[in-house]
């Protein structure tokens, strides 16, 4: 009665989940730009697209790979022994690959203007508003902390009510994007930024790699790990396996 997914099936599930996230979420950023949507309407549209994509991906591939679709989540779960370290590297590789495929296929749908004019929905610091790299790091770390804190509370903790994880996590992602989006682009996911950056590298859009490592990799990973330790300390869930 049912077989365990193979490693390759799990990796492909991560690839497809991240593909779905990055085609829909950052893609919404591109079309919002194309339609000339600005201000809060722009942020709300992108946040909603992300929230829906996250919720759907959790329900579709959650039962195959766990639907991390985010290197920060994978590393944070491994940091307290909830996910095997030997699977961390392949999970991240397939997440990044899914994100790159999403961005490349977005160009296939809309042409290179998706990159040159709208940056493939890549996250960059809002330097016009004075957001610096240290400020961006704090913002991304806090945003990813809230994401991982929510995952811990509604999914990892066995006391959480069943069936709500996808919806609640999708909505918290949308909430984080509404607040953090105008500061850093609200990546809270290294793969989500990596895909559009690679697409922009190829097709000519912006890809400030100096921001990538610190703001969009180090900070989200730290924020997620801190969330796991904090949640474990305050809530004392059982091992969560």
């Amino acid at each position: 009665m049912g077989k365990e997914p193979t490693s390759m099936q799990k990796y492909l599930a991560e690839l497809l989940g991240t593909f779905m996230l990055v085609w829909i979420g950052p893609g919404a950023g591109v079309v919002a730009g194309m339609l000339g949507v600005k201000g809060l309407a722009d942020v709300l549209a992108i946040a909603l697209a992300f929230g829906i994509a996250v919720a759907a991906a959790i329900h579709v591939v959650g039962k195959i790979s766990g639907c991390h679709i985010n290197p920060a989540v994978t590393i944070a779960l491994a940091s307290r022994g909830r996910f095997p370290w030997k699977d961390v590297f392949p999970y991240i590789c397939f997440q990044l690959a899914g994100a790159v495929i999403a961005s490349l296929l977005f160009v296939a749908c809309l042409g290179s203007q998706a990159s040159t004019s709208f940056g493939l929905g890549a996250t960059t610091l809002n330097s016009g508003a004075g957001v610096t790299i240290p400020m961006g790091m704090i913002g991304e770390a806090i945003g990813t902390f809230f994401l991982m804190f929510t995952i811990m509370g509604v999914a990892v903790d066995s006391r959480a009510p069943g069936g709500w994880a996808g919806w609640i996590i999708g909505m918290v992602v949308a909430g984080i994007i509404i607040t953090l989006g105008p500061m850093t682009g609200a990546s809270i996911n290294p793969a989500r930024t990596f895909g559009p950056y690679v697409g922009n590298l190829i097709f000519g859009g912006p890809c400030p790699w100096d921001q990538f490592i610190l703001v969009y990799c180090v900070a989200p990973i730290l924020g997620a790990i801190i969330a796991v330790f904090v949640y474990d300390y305050i809530a004392q869930p059982d091992k969560g396996k």
């Binding site: 039962k63 790979s65 766990g66 994880a165 396996k241």
Partner: protein
């Protein structure tokens, strides 16, 4: 309690089990044992099958309805 299946054919055989679905009492010739896989995991963990299975005693009719015809 006597086996329901045996009783219908006029035999009175002591039952040793009860079907967990319909509650029919069963002798050792009329029970079916189905071992159910136990799983752990589910979002955000990949599912994995546990080593030990869960025993379930069923009558032939419930076994056919629930398991054979799938």
């Amino acid at each position: 309690m006597k086996c329901y299946v045996c009783e219908k054919s006029g035999n009175a055989t002591e039952a040793i089990a009860v079907c967990i679905v319909c509650g029919m009492a069963l002798c050792k010739d009329h029970l079916v044992r189905a071992d159910i896989d136990m799983w752990e995991g589910g979002y955000p963990f990949p599912p994995s099958k546990l080593k030990k299975k869960l025993p379930r005693i069923l009558c032939k009719e419930c076994y056919d309805a629930l398991i054979t015809q799938r």
